[in-house]
């Protein structure tokens, strides 16, 4: 029994910690496996980026293109958004009610939106200088990797909206709680990927 209650201590799925938790365990494990597969995709995009760093074909490279201040702000927004999602998870764990969870989710959504807005502004600036993916292999690799992360963030934000609606419609039923748990995993996962992008693409490119 102790082993089972240890499995997902943050979820409080109900009095019977047996079957409900076994089922959740399967779903959450499946999601971890999915993230492993997704991680391979990112890994390959990173590898492609690394091999194409020299392929600028006479076009602009990192030094001409990157605005480290903006990238730093993006990093901060995303890191704080992970923290605020942690707030939502804690609120769920300590029975603080649907309102508190929703509030944290809204804050997370806003931070994610801020991140995306800054990122899109940077992309627009690059394309404005004629440095779109059509310019060189290097820029193709850049626009293959970084916006892929941005697409994941967008998907996560749509997911946040869906969860806010589901909390209102269904209340904090087990299905909604496990979805929130998986969304949290996904959001923190994107944070980790961004750390890689910030280190390899931005810091590495400007070093």
């Amino acid at each position: 029994m102790i082993r089972q209650t240890m499995r997902h201590p943050g979820l409080n799925l109900g009095r019977d910690h047996g079957q409900a938790h076994d089922h959740v365990e399967t779903i959450v494990f499946g999601f971890w496996v999915f993230m492993m597969s997704d991680l391979i995709i990112f890994g390959l995009m990173f590898a492609t980026y690394a091999t194409m760093q020299g392929s600028t074909a006479g076009g602009p490279g990192p030094v001409e293109l990157f605005d480290i201040k903006s990238a730093f702000f993006q990093t901060m927004l995303l890191l704080v958004s992970s923290l605020t999602f942690g707030g939502a998870s804690l609120a769920m764990r300590h029975h603080m009610g649907a309102g508190r969870i929703t509030l944290w989710l809204v804050v997370t959504f806003a931070l994610g939106g801020g991140f995306l807005a800054l990122e899109l502004r940077d992309f627009a600036a690059m394309i404005g200088q004629g440095a779109g993916p059509w310019r060189s292999g290097y820029l193709s690799a850049f626009f293959g990797l970084v916006p892929l992360h941005g697409l994941h963030v967008s998907a996560g934000m749509i997911w946040i909206v869906v969860m806010i609606v589901q909390i209102r419609v269904f209340g904090l039923v087990p299905a909604v709680k496990t979805r929130l748990l998986r969304l949290a995993l996904f959001w923190h996962f994107l944070d980790l990927i961004w750390i890689g992008i910030f280190s390899v693409v931005y810091l590495g490119g400007l070093a």
Partner: protein
């Protein structure tokens, strides 16, 4: 964006010129007539199927029983049906290519463009839409039964996987009727497949068929792995699982890790073609070697993820029909695992000649030779299983014997190719074509056909016709031998692969023998059809409702044939390997359970069909630049998924009383049927209950 991608009105770049019929009328020639004939077969076949379903009023049954079903058994069967339909097309295309080369001395009858499309579709179909759905289908059907589960972990995702695979197959079929398929081979190497050289829809058909079906396969991998880790019956420890489940697990892990490189490579190619990226182009810093590395980073694990489940089938078939427990179980598990790990370390041997240094080549050459060691261990284990067994030469055993002999030849020619210095001499020749057909046909295809014959009675409740099964198996074996063994010789003589015509008369006799072999293979395919047709007609004499026609050893034989939706009325408790064989020996098979409980099963859902239609529309629209439809479909997919997450009522409960009634009726029927000895296996007396065998048959 390319100027070209912006062209077109409401139908994008699609117009009447895309139809092969228009082409055949405008320029009648052998190639055009064959192309429009094939297109006509596809269209008429589709119309005939739809008409037959309407005529017999089966739409309701088809919708409720199959298309919307979340039952892993139904989904498995649909995968296999899809694979067999595509197999028919793939075999016929192969035969047309053999005919072209048999008459190819200084000409032949096909245009070079048509021939290139043939080898491109043949390879794409056989790998992605025959071999992959066959293994997905057999794993889907068998694995949950073998581990004593009620279903896979994610039944709805399973349905979506099937839908996405069917989408890929549908796009390939569409390419036969609307426009042309890629001429870039099944590997679609850039820069040839880039927009600069190949602006037409062909490579786009390839990309979207592969990407969409690939996502489906990744999801299947996740599903199978989670099922094996989480859904095993009480007492079914990993090392009590039937060997087929181990191979399914390794295949699932390979799917999870090996499919992403393919998805990445083909999407990068799509970005190059659609949005003017430069991943693999000749100019502006593109590097096609990235594609080749990514593709084979998928491609090599792919061949092992195809062969491993076939190895699993041979392990089950050989043990059952030798009446013995599997020899060297642990070594087979270790070998399977070793192959899975090593399969990620050999991809470079697919392009030894493409510019790496000798040291890199030899490292991959050695890794490639190493992978032969665990495979060799397996061959010996199977032979040791047969040794001193009471072997029954049933259809699956004929396939297995053909496999043991022919696969060793194919494996050894692989070891030859693993040596980079030899590879430099024979790469890109028919020697290579002979090699990979020699492992894929006797390995994967024979294994899957053995599994089809072995588990068919479980799935449909009646045995297949043995006589026609053996005829078909022998035709496959000899057809393969005549078609592909001569190619080793012409390959060594220097004939390149994918050759439309040649001027060396020495090649021609070999090509004619190969054409004869191709006729045998077409006959083998026809024999499979005859076998199925006769078996359905004779089904009343072939019923095996008790569920155990072969004196099976593993849990799938412990339930009725066909099994109820929930597989087992009460989940079995496992204490041994070969759980059902031990239960029969101890007289603990077919016991009436003390109590039954309610069973919760997922409801039917149309989500899989919706995903299939939307992704087919998406793929087709992207191929033909029909942007409004692409946008619509791309929105429909997430909307459908989100809508599904708002459905609170996804499961239904089957009451214990209903289960008890069904289960007791079956157990009564089993108790009243006579157990037969193995001598009566292929007679009407075989109703699926086996008399105890000899001592030493169980561990």
């Amino acid at each position: 964006m390319n100027g070209q991608t912006q062209a077109g009105g409401i139908l994008g770049r699609l117009d009447l010129q895309a139809l092969p019929f228009t082409q055949a009328i405008a320029h009648p020639g052998a190639s055009e007539l064959i192309a429009s004939g094939a297109a006509a077969i596809v269209v008429l076949g589709a119309i005939a199927t739809l008409a037959a379903i309407t005529r017999f009023g089966l739409w309701g049954a088809f919708w409720r029983g199959w298309l919307t079903s979340t039952d892993h058994k139904r989904i498995g069967i649909m995968y296999i049906v899809l694979a067999l339909v595509m197999l028919a097309r793939g075999v016929l295309e192969g035969a047309v290519m053999r005919a072209q080369q048999a008459f190819g001395l200084g000409g032949g009858f096909l245009s070079s463009d048509h021939f290139s499309q043939l080898f491109s579709t043949h390879g794409t179909i056989m790998i992605f839409f025959v071999a992959m759905p066959l293994i997905a289908g057999v794993i889907n059907y068998v694995m949950p039964l073998q581990i004593g589960a009620r279903d896979v972990s994610f039944p709805v995702m399973n349905q979506i996987s099937l839908g996405l695979t069917a989408t890929g197959a549908a796009l390939l079929m569409a390419s036969l009727v609307v426009g042309k398929f890629s001429t870039g081979g099944w590997t679609a190497y850039p820069p040839y497949t880039e927009a600069a050289f190949n602006p037409g829809p062909g490579p786009d058909y390839w990309i979207w068929a592969i990407v969409i079906a690939g996502v489906g396969s990744t999801l299947s991998g996740i599903n199978f792995a989670v099922t094996i880790y989480k859904e095993r019956a009480p007492g079914m420890t990993m090392f009590r699982m039937p060997l087929f489940c181990w191979t399914a697990l390794c295949t699932a892990i390979l799917l999870i890790f090996a499919l992403p490189p393919l998805t990445v490579a083909s999407l990068m190619l799509a970005l190059d073609r659609y949005l003017d990226f430069h991943f693999f182009t000749n100019d502006l810093g593109g590097n096609m070697m990235n594609y080749v590395n990514l593709f084979w980073l998928f491609g090599h694990p792919e061949v092992y993820l195809l062969i491993l489940p076939a190895f699993g089938v041979y392990s089950e078939v050989i043990a059952t029909f030798s009446g013995k427990t599997l020899y060297g179980y642990t070594s087979l598990v270790v070998a399977t695992m070793a192959i899975s790990v090593l399969s990620f370390s050999v991809w470079l041997h697919h392009f030894f000649t493409m510019g790496q240094g000798a040291n890199v080549n030899i490292a991959f050459g050695i890794a490639t030779m190493l992978i032969g060691v665990p495979t060799g261990v397996k061959i010996y284990d199977w032979m040791a299983t047969m040794f001193r067994g009471r072997i029954r030469m049933t259809t699956p055993m004929v396939f297995s014997s053909g496999f043991l002999i022919l696969f060793v030849i194919g494996g050894l020619s692989g070891i030859i190719l693993a040596n980079p210095t030899i590879d430099f001499q024979v790469h890109n020749s028919l020697f290579l074509v002979a090699h990979f057909h020699n492992v894929l046909i006797p390995g994967v295809l024979f294994g899957m056909l053995a599994g089809y014959n072995y588990w068919f009675p479980k799935a449909f409740g009646f045995r297949l016709n043995e006589r026609w099964g053996r005829i078909s198996a022998l035709l496959w074996i000899f057809g393969f031998s005549f078609t592909f063994l001569p190619l080793y010789f012409v390959g060594l003589m220097g004939m390149p692969r994918r050759t439309l015509s040649y001027s060396e008369p020495l090649f021609q006799p070999y090509m004619q023998v190969a054409l004869f072999g191709a006729f045998l293979l077409v006959a083998a395919l026809a024999a499979l059809g005859v076998q199925l047709w006769l078996s359905i007609r004779q089904r009343d004499q072939r019923r095996v409702f008790a569920g155990d026609p072969w004196n099976g050893r593993t849990l799938e034989w412990a339930t009725a044939a066909p099994p109820p939706e929930y597989n087992f009325a009460v989940l079995p408790v496992v204490a041994h390997r070969d759980a059902f064989a031990v239960a029969k020996e101890n007289g603990r098979a077919y016991l009436v359970p003390e109590r039954y409980e309610d069973i919760t099963m997922p409801r039917n859902t149309s989500l899989g069909v919706v995903m299939m239609l939307a992704s087919t529309a998406l793929g087709f629209a992207l191929v033909w630049y029909i942007w409004w439809l692409a946008a619509l479909a791309a929105i429909a997919i997430p909307v459908a998924l989100i809508a599904r997450s708002f459905d609170p009522d996804t499961h239904r409960t089957i009451p214990a009383a209903e289960i008890a009634r069904e289960n007791r009726a079956w157990l009564d029927a089993v108790a009243n049927t006579k157990a037969i000895t193995r001598g009566d296996e292929d007679t009407a007396r075989n109703t699926g209950r086996a008399a105890p065998e000899w001592e030493g048959a169980t561990p």
